[in-house]
Amino acid sequence: MIRSLHIAAKDLKAEFRTKQMLNSMVIFSLLVIVIFSVSFGDLLGNSKIVTQLAPGVLWISFTFAGMLGLSRSFAGELENGCLEGLKLCPVDRSAIYNGKTISNAVIMFLVEIITVPLFAVMFNYSINGLAGLAIVIILGTIGFISVGTLLSALTVNTRTRELLLPILLLPIIIPVIIPAVLATGKMLANGDISDISGELRLLAVYDIIFFIIAQLVFEYAIGD
């Protein structure tokens, strides 16, 4: 566990030196929200429609921005043989996975912390139930990132990795997106945490199942 924290710390340190990924992810997720709010046009005046559309828009922007980060997560290691170096580390292979998951999740959380207030402004929201929303976003992000990191490792050795990752990832994260969108919608519509217990349970189950599967298969995904 401490070793995976070391790997995560290495990734985050490298990221914060340039902030390249973080900047582009934030700007990208912002752009997604702007494009959506522009294309919905007049509909945004109708608050009933907004409550139905907005959770989906929020999660689309998270997913796309996350995909951007995930596709770089392992591909960035290809330069100068860093991936080989990582594999040579005297640690369990799953420690690499855990470290990468932690660093990806941290970056993703940072993006989300910046995106959510901007989203609230653009869609004229006053966000109630912030704690519940935070739980939904945290659980959803963990599920999304834990599968995404695994698939990022899976596609890193293929020729068309930037193309392949979204194709592989999107069908697999349907079970994250649906409860996350539902729960976000309920929380934004002045819901109580008890209203979303079903969704939260499903998200937690997804997180646990895919975290365990990833532990088991990661060493095959990253190669020898």
Partner: protein
């Protein structure tokens, strides 16, 4: 090889016979369906006898992919990879057929081709996952790497499908359960002749799947032999 192809021939003849019986039963031996109030239902319900067996067979196909993927990762035997690949291809065709027959049936009974109903959407999710699986196989050139990576994805994909079903059911809870006639509660399958028809169709489609799969595996192996021979040429 000749023994193997004899087996295949036998299997395909058997499949053809059972398939004919099954189709005959659907079109000629079924009694006229009536609903609770005694109204005669139209024949569109008959597509159900294709639809359900195809659906179950497609799930079976992907279960085969899942098991073969695990066994490939565990044992590293090449044959498991061939099985996984063949089963995924055949299974995707079946999954597509599920969507097609389901849509036709839906159009006839509900008036729409598509409804975001849990089972339909799950079938779609399953189909999409395995399209991604097949695309991924095409994207990787090295045979060993392709086998290993797609085995990993085969496992992840199979695990996601039941979760998809749960999440979609949550999403559309208010939707009535249209397929009620499958269970004991609905007004459909009480008669033995109906159940028998369904059973024969189920067997027929299992056999069809087994036949196509067996041919497919044989094809893949032949293709590998050809590729090897080609590479051996100067």
């Amino acid at each position: 090889m000749s023994k193997k192809s004899n087996q295949n021939n036998l299997l395909s003849i058997l499949t053809a016979v059972v398939m004919l019986i099954a189709t005959y039963m659907i079109f000629f031996s079924l009694p006229i369906m009536r609903d609770e109030s005694g109204e005669i239902l139209d024949n569109s319900f008959n597509i159900f006898y294709f639809h359900l067996p195809i659906a179950i067979t497609s799930y079976l196909a992907f279960f085969v992919v899942f098991v073969a993927s695990i066994l490939y990762l565990k044992k590293g035997t090449h044959n498991w990879d061939v099985l996984a690949r063949s089963s995924a291809e055949v299974g995707s065709i079946f999954a597509l057929l599920v969507l097609v027959t389901g849509s036709i049936w839906a159009k006839a009974t509900w008036g729409w081709y598509w409804i975001w109903e849990p089972r339909l959407t799950t079938s779609l999710a399953l189909f999409l996952v395995y399209l991604a699986y097949l695309l991924m196989r095409q994207a990787i050139e090295e045979p060993e790497k392709r086998a290993r990576l797609s085995a990993v994805f085969g496992i992840i994909g199979f695990a996601s499908v039941p979760l998809s079903f749960l999440s979609i059911r949550m999403w559309r809870t208010h939707h009535p359960l249209m397929f009620g006639s499958q269970g004991s509660g609905g007004g459909g399958l009480e008669g033995t002749s109906l159940q028998l028809t369904l059973l024969v169709n189920l067997i027929a489609f299992f056999l069809l799947f087994a036949t196509i799969l067996s041919y497919k595996v044989q094809n893949e192996k032949l293709q590998e032999i050809i590729t090897e021979k080609k590479q051996a040429l100067p």
